[in-house]
């Protein structure tokens, strides 16, 4: 079980994260905090029209969060916004342990993170970078140039405290 989480590839990204470092002139910067642990990353994107030209990040976290954001940057740089959102959807499916998600070849290396789905308390770690990406794209779509320079701060409150079945903690109770 633990071997399936702390895999070679994860550790390698943890120790040598790709695209770590601040971008010079990002069009949007999002700061995302994981309330479970207090870890925080700053995600910077340069988006030109529909295309994600560059991505960088700073901040710290556990092996899971750092590896996930590192692989994420690889997966979205140079791609369209729609492709990035599609990848996010696929990754969330992987974390939800949806059927077939672990066979999804479009996820590439990200499939190395599939073991995290079995560790509900750590799913927030794997999603930290993706939640930042999601907010960044939303901010870009609202105002393609307006967000430039200003850092947007978020806390990841997608669920009640870390470690829950989203199923039993939906916002809309029956």
């Amino acid at each position: 079980m633990l071997e399936s989480i702390f895999r070679e590839l994860i550790l390698e990204h943890y120790r040598k994260p790709r695209n770590k470092g601040a971008l010079e002139n990002p069009t949007v910067t999002v700061s995302m905090r994981n309330p479970m642990c207090g870890d925080e990353i700053d995600l910077m994107l340069t988006i030109d029209g529909d295309r994600i030209e560059a991505v960088g990040f700073t901040g710290q976290g556990c092996s899971i969060s750092q590896a996930s954001v590192s692989m994420m940057t690889q997966g979205v740089i140079g791609r369209s916004i729609d492709a990035a959102l599609d990848l996010e959807k696929r990754f969330v499916a992987l974390m939800r342990d949806d059927e077939g998600a672990s066979e999804d070849r479009k996820l590439g290396d990200l499939r190395a993170l599939q073991g995290v789905a079995k560790l509900p308390v750590r799913i927030k770690c794997a999603l930290l970078g993706w939640n930042a990406l999601d907010e960044a794209i939303k901010a870009h779509q609202k105002s393609p140039t307006g967000a430039m320079g200003e850092k947007l701060e978020f806390e990841d409150l997608t669920e009640l405290p870390a470690g829950f079945d989203p199923a039993t903690h939906k916002d809309d109770l029956p």
């Binding site: 309330p35 308390v121 009640l160 109770l173």
Partner: protein, 430 residues
Amino acid sequence: MSAPKTASQADSLPAELTESPLDIDAIRAEFPILDQQVHGHRLVYLDSAASAQRPAVVIRTIADYYTKDHANVHRGAHELSVRATRRYEDARGKVARFLGAGRADEVVFTRSTTESINLVSMTWGIANLGPGDVVVVSEMEHHSNLVPWQIVCERTGAEIQAIRVTDDQRLDLDHLDALLGSGDVRLVATGHVSNAIGTIHPVDEIARRAHEAGALYLIDGAQAAPQLPIDVRAIDCDFYTFSGHKACGPTGIGALWARRELLDAMPPYQGGGEMIEEVRIERSTYAAVPHKFEAGTPNIAGAIGFGAAVDFLQALDPETIHAHEKRIARLVLERLADEFKAITLYGPAPDVARAGVVSFTLADIHPHDLATILDHEGVAIRAGHHCCQPLMRRLGVAATARASFYLYNAEDDLEALVRGLHRAQELFRV
């Protein structure tokens, strides 16, 4: 005052009164505490309005939690902490559902109704009240829905005004309209069911009028949640509060429900662990609701036991519990009026919306003397002002005796009460 005028015998009872919709014997079997003798008599517990008893499932749930799953909640990266957090948050969901709330994160766990109301007065109140503003309560309120407003009004310069009680012991809605007419009322805060005399208030109607006048509406549901179906969205109130210990749950746990936008805008209440985002020596930023309002380690076992209690009530069905209460209230009022010439019964007539809480005085016997005598017959009632001194003043009595009937009480309890009152008359030579 409003003693029923006609006596009724078992054979002349309307159909719905002949039998309780609850299986009382089965229910009693679930409450281990009821199976005991007090002063040589079967315990007849008629003090549930002060605090109800707990079914075995609630006691077991608490023990089970401590025996298997306890750890501190949130932020824990180990198995027990995950389990404790899950059980704690599941309980929040259960309470939310019990109240008809739309979201679990609209429920804040507190110690009690009292703390829930203090939380609102010290956060929403401090932030929103000022000179010229008015908080409307009623003459029938429990002290817990009066004193917090007095304190916050004193602090902010706002004024407190009270809805009058009519001669038939209900809230005077015309007077509420008159108070709202000033345009200065920011909040109306009333009970849902009176703990002293059993009146059920028309909360939907009060909500409508308060909102029309631009005021928010807080409901003290301490007596209502245990025995009425509650739907905060249908009532359309803004704050709803109740206590676990009156609803078959543990002591030391209560709930505040409020609309999410209100909670978001309210400043935090207590400061400490769990409720913060970032702390520096000089200044801190706060976590999101509901955690913003739950500083420090919460009553984890209490919340989990509370969840088991509302499940228990839900399984019996609040509609059915309410029907049982209506029935028993009517039986009690008619029987006592019938049997005792010297009795004065308080609260609305039996054909009006009311709960199974019956306040009375008997001849010139002091309520505490009554309580002592009944206690020696195994019958537990309460005597005093029931934390409703303004209402007692309005009724012109210093104290009453109060017998409150809950879901484990039936005709045999009423008969024990009747016997005890005869004994009191005999001792006092009434």
